[in-house]
């Protein structure tokens, strides 16, 4: 599996996600925002967390128009894997690769804490290492993670099973209390219709090593690598 981590001015979780990918056996390279092509043979393009362009205008808005994004769009159209974490999810929404928008958290606070999310389906290239309905222990750190979409889009996401994760308690119960940013239907992550593009607010790369207190993120990287083994 060859992964390319995109680097925008202001990305700051690129090193962590690259490390998580390498631990799971991926070859990792970097793609610069001004590049017009992904590295040869890229299987997975990763848009890391951070604050691209200082969150100017709207989070992810300027990065979404960077030259490399045309290459990411073409990669996704060919069925290549794309993962956007946190600011990467915001960039995917702004670029039109995923529908909807991530607004300011409903409580107006930057939230940064451990969070359980429920795995909505375990049959994708990102989630085969989990079980459907499983609550995984993960972390969130964002000020703009309040997912919303118009009614038709939401109905399509729900109807076609494109919700990837929902904020939940430790037992996988989707409660109002667990939804700390106010996202509609407690949505923490969504897929593209072909299930090859995933955007999520939580940071799986935070929990891949016992030394930091959790390893539930590792199965996501293992699954991606296994899906493109060879």
């Amino acid at each position: 599996m060859r992964a390319a981590v995109l680097l925008f001015p202001g990305s700051n979780r690129d090193g962590d996600v690259a490390r998580a990918l390498r631990r799971s056996g991926a070859e990792v390279s970097t793609a610069w925002h001004a590049d017009t092509a992904l590295p040869e043979g890229t299987d997975l393009a990763v848009l890391p967390g951070g604050f691209s362009y200082g969150d100017y205008l709207r989070c992810g808005a300027i990065a979404a128009r960077a030259p490399i994004m045309d290459a990411v769009r073409a990669h996704a159209a060919r069925g290549g894997l794309v993962l956007g974490i946190c600011n990467g999810f915001q960039i995917l929404c702004e670029s039109g690769l995923l529908p909807g928008v991530l607004m300011r958290n409903a409580n107006l606070r930057f939230i940064c804490h451990r969070q359980s999310v429920r795995v909505e389906r375990a049959d994708t290239d990102f989630t085969r290492g989990y079980e459907k309905g499983q609550a995984i222990d993960i972390c969130v750190a964002h000020g703009e993670g309040n997912y919303t979409a118009d009614r038709e889009t939401l109905a399509r996401l729900e109807g076609e099973g494109l919700v990837a994760f929902r904020y939940s308690d430790g037992e996988g119960r989707v409660t109002e209390d667990a939804n700390r940013n106010g996202s509609i239907n407690s949505i923490a992550g969504i897929y593209s219709p072909k299930l090859n593009v995933l955007g999520l607010m939580p940071h799986p790369e935070n929990f891949v090593d016992e030394i930091v207190g959790g390893t539930d993120g590792k199965a996501m990287f293992d699954a991606m690598v296994a899906s493109r083994a060879a």
Binding site: R65, M103, A106, L108, T148
Partner: protein, 92 residues
Amino acid sequence: MKARVTVTLKTGVLDPQGKAIEGALTSLGVEGVTSVRQGKVFDVELDAPDEAAAETALKAACEKLLANTVIENYRIAIRNGAGKAAPGSKEG
């Protein structure tokens, strides 16, 4: 040519920042405020042969970048070279 682009949240889109400002105004003793919606203003200078061309360029700017049309509306007001308000605009 100078223009002002105003981007506002669509009706019905929750605006927690506007709500917070509304609450702060009330607590400051500003009376009679019943609603605040926060938006953005862009003052743009551009070279264009005429207003129609400027409007076309600015519309493209809004659609491509300045507004997220999922949640936001935009309004374009073009001002002539002397800086006076264009017809129909209240901005001077």
